[in-house]
């Protein structure tokens, strides 16, 4: 009997360890994303595997893009340094699981806000940082100038696991056109297959088409058709059940947009503290106690504007100056004919 005492003790110890884990999970019912982030010292951000203008890494591993800037803004607000972000590149298929299983805390990866995603699978969309719509890219020499020129048997390359797949079906069905969907897991393969001639058209969000066109062997031989077949409001996503974290991400994004509206830039933010406009003063933390409501200090928004810049600066740096979409279209402020409109910070 004593022969087994040693094994017995180790077994008992294992069981005891398991029980401790279990009790800890039960105690952790209240989510602590903010606390964990401050403890770790970096924001865990899920991005794309490379979409110029939105989230793209250069050869040295530095991430840039408007989606990246949302995470940087949160890092500036929460940790005081916009560079304290750990980026995790995710495929369309992996993104939601990575978020719900706690691998990342913000998913900022050109993700379309839909009812079923918001309500069904444990996610919460906090806002829109890019208004997009699905379009088609074709070869210029095909003579196709409108989506009405597609004929039965057209083959369309796209990404797997996206709203694109569903919109494409709705669109071709409504036109009564039979089509062949060719879906790849990674965007690079979609581009390569379309480039080789496997597909007659490449369909995804128009911003994506504009960005991926640069990767084609001869971009000038291709064009994006004028029609937009869907609404694709893209925005950052957080896990359901942590309303404080949700608010922090939402208002970090809103701060960037409102800063542009009031003309506060990374260059003039400090001097705006003495502005005559109370809204501007609130925005740079010179008036009110807005930070406390989010569990942050009062300089959180000032740091966002100083370190990341306002939405216009981010757009210009990442999307306009890189030649992807020089025209802001709907992503212009509501005061300038666009539809960017955020609730007031007060």
């Amino acid at each position: 009997m004593f022969k087994y005492l040693k094994q017995l003790t180790s077994l008992v110890a294992m069981v005891a360890v398991l029980f401790t884990f279990t009790t800890e999970t039960m105690a952790a019912k209240k989510s602590k994303t903010l606390k964990n982030t401050q403890k770790k010292g970096f924001v865990r951000c899920g991005v794309s595997q490379g979409l110029p203008g939105f989230s793209n890494a250069d050869a040295a591993g530095n991430w840039t893009g408007v989606d990246v800037d949302v995470c940087r803004a949160v890092a500036a607000a929460v940790l005081g340094d916009a560079n304290k972000v750990k980026f995790t590149p995710l495929s369309a298929k992996e993104r939601f699981t990575a978020l719900t299983s706690n691998e990342i805390d913000i998913l900022s990866r050109n993700t379309t806000w839909t009812l079923s995603r918001d309500a069904d699978i444990g996610l919460t969309f906090v806002g829109v940082n890019f208004y997009d719509g699905q379009g088609f890219m074709v070869r210029k020499n095909s003579g196709i100038s409108s989506v009405n020129d597609f004929k039965n048997g057209v083959s369309a390359c796209t990404n797997l696991g996206t709203t694109t797949e569903l919109n494409m079906r709705d669109f071709f069905n409504s036109k009564g056109i039979s089509y062949e969907p060719v879906t790849f897991e990674k965007a690079d393969e979609v581009v390569a297959a379309y480039d080789a001639g496997r597909c007659d058209t490449y369909t995804t969000d128009k911003s994506g088409l504009a960005a991926q066109r640069i990767k084609l062997s001869s971009p000038d031989d291709h064009m994006v058709l004028p029609e937009t077949i869907s609404k694709e409001p893209l925005g950052p996503v957080v896990r359901q059940g942590d309303s404080v974290w949700e608010d922090i991400v939402r208002w970090s994004l809103n701060t960037m947009i409102e800063a542009e509206e009031y003309g506060v830039t990374s260059a003039n933010a400090d001097s705006m503290k003495t502005s005559d406009n109370p809204a501007v003063k609130r925005l740079v933390g010179a008036e009110g106690e807005l930070g406390a409501a989010l569990g942050l200090d009062n300089d959180w928004s000032l740091r966002i504007i100083k370190q990341v810049g306002n939405y216009g600066e981010s757009y210009k740096r990442n999307i306009a100056d890189t030649g992807i979409l020089p025209d802001r279209g709907p992503n212009e402020l509501w005061t300038k004919g666009g539809i960017l409109y955020v609730p007031p910070a007060r």
Partner: protein, 381 residues
């Protein structure tokens, strides 16, 4: 009962149960916290996405369960094609490696060493994108025998349009049943009288004659539908009619069979070399022809060595077919664990179904191979 024997077993069982309990409890709590519901009801909902290539009738108005079947059948299709070709190539290369001809032996070795040492995913990408780059556009393609069109958009082959297809199938079934009876009869005749019957030529004859008779007298009629080129736009073409094999299927089956064949070739070589030289010499000395030596003495013994490791290769091939998602072949992983998972968000349900499916596929293959292995094992009398 000896308590010393039972106690460790019981404790092990307890720990296993606790670990499973811990994980399922944890999953439950976490899902509840995030407002995720659990259930398989989504399987009957409308899937609302289309699939490129399907063996059964399917479009987005069918259910998720139907989409699952589409993926499963596509996985089985590419696995069966892969297993058949891997076996053929593997046996040829395995025997070639034993050849006395230096050139044949060397080229077989180079093939084996080259293909088995490169990761499969890279090979799949290579064949897919190499094929895409090398294949002509539909309008530039030269037809093979006037009716086959190999293009970047797929391999278009003629389809048969049947009249009275059922009679044709009955004639084939009748031929197979008569062959089974003839085999039994031939075996009995050889055991009793020592006379051999040319079973193979009779079988082939039956398989040809009965279907031909069904054409002549059974009213069976088949016409061929040849693919026709169709213009989609000023520069875009495709083919219509006939059967279309997508390039994804072709390159995946090619990559899987070329890769797995290298391992099967090694199994075959090991099997043949495992039969001692004395067996062959003894067989030759009692006057068997070289063909009979191979068929009656060497192969039955070699197969016993070849079958078990080859079973593993068949299992590997089936599981490796899940790499299809990388090149857009709509297999189970791409259709069900990919698109369906993304559209429903039911990760735990779908991944568990997918895992169980692969498990059942693998177990079916190994049950069949074990049965075959037992059948050819030495029967001690």
């Amino acid at each position: 009962m000896n308590i010393k024997k039972i106690l460790p077993q019981l404790l092990t069982l307890l720990v296993v149960i606790l670990i499973f309990g811990f994980f399922s409890y944890n999953a439950q709590v976490n899902m509840e916290n995030r407002g995720i519901t659990f259930g398989y009801g989504f399987l009957s909902q409308e899937s609302s996405f289309d699939v490129q290539f399907s063996l059964i009738e399917y479009d987005g108005s069918h259910s998720y369960f139907r989409a699952y079947l589409v993926g499963l059948l596509n996985t089985i299709l590419v696995s069966v094609i892969g297993i058949i070709f891997a076996t053929i190539i593997g046996v040829i290369v395995g025997i070639a490696r034993l050849s006395n001809n230096y050139l044949i032996e060397r080229s077989a070795s180079v093939y084996v060493e080259f293909f088995r040492n490169i990761p499969l995913l890279l090979q799949i990408f290579f064949w897919y994108f190499a094929a895409l780059r090398a294949l002509p556009l539909p309008q530039d393609t030269e037809p093979m025998f006037g009716v086959f069109f190999l293009t970047i958009k797929g391999f278009f082959v003629p389809a048969f349009v049947w009249n009275n297809l059922d009679i044709f199938i009955y004639s084939i079934i009748a031929a197979i049943i008569s062959i089974i009876f003839i085999r039994i009869y031939a075996k009995r005749k050889q055991e009793n009288e020592g006379v051999q019957t040319p079973v193979l030529s009779i079988s082939i004859g039956l398989l040809l004659i009965l279907p031909i008779l069904s054409f002549l007298f059974g009213g069976v009629d088949a016409s061929v539908e040849v693919p026709v080129i169709k213009q989609l736009s000023q520069s875009g073409f495709t083919y219509e009619g006939g059967i279309k094999l997508p390039p994804e299927l072709i390159s995946l089956a090619l990559a899987l069979s070329l890769y797995t064949a290298t391992f099967i070739a090694e199994c075959v070589r090991a099997g043949v070399q495992g039969v001692s030289k004395g067996q062959k010499e003894a067989a030759a000395s009692i006057g068997l022809t070289p063909n009979q030596v191979l068929k009656l003495v060497v192969m039955p013994q070699a197969l016993r060595i070849i079958i078990p490791p080859t079973t593993n290769q068949y299992l590997n091939l089936t599981k490796n077919s899940s790499l299809a998602a990388a090149i857009a072949y709509p297999d189970l992983v791409l259709v069900f664990a990919g698109t369906a998972l993304m559209q429903t968000g039911r990760a735990i349900e779908i991944v568990s179904i997918t895992m169980l499916t692969y498990l059942s596929l693998s177990i079916s293959i190994s049950i069949f191979m074990n049965w075959y292995n037992k059948k050819i094992a030495i029967k001690e009398k």
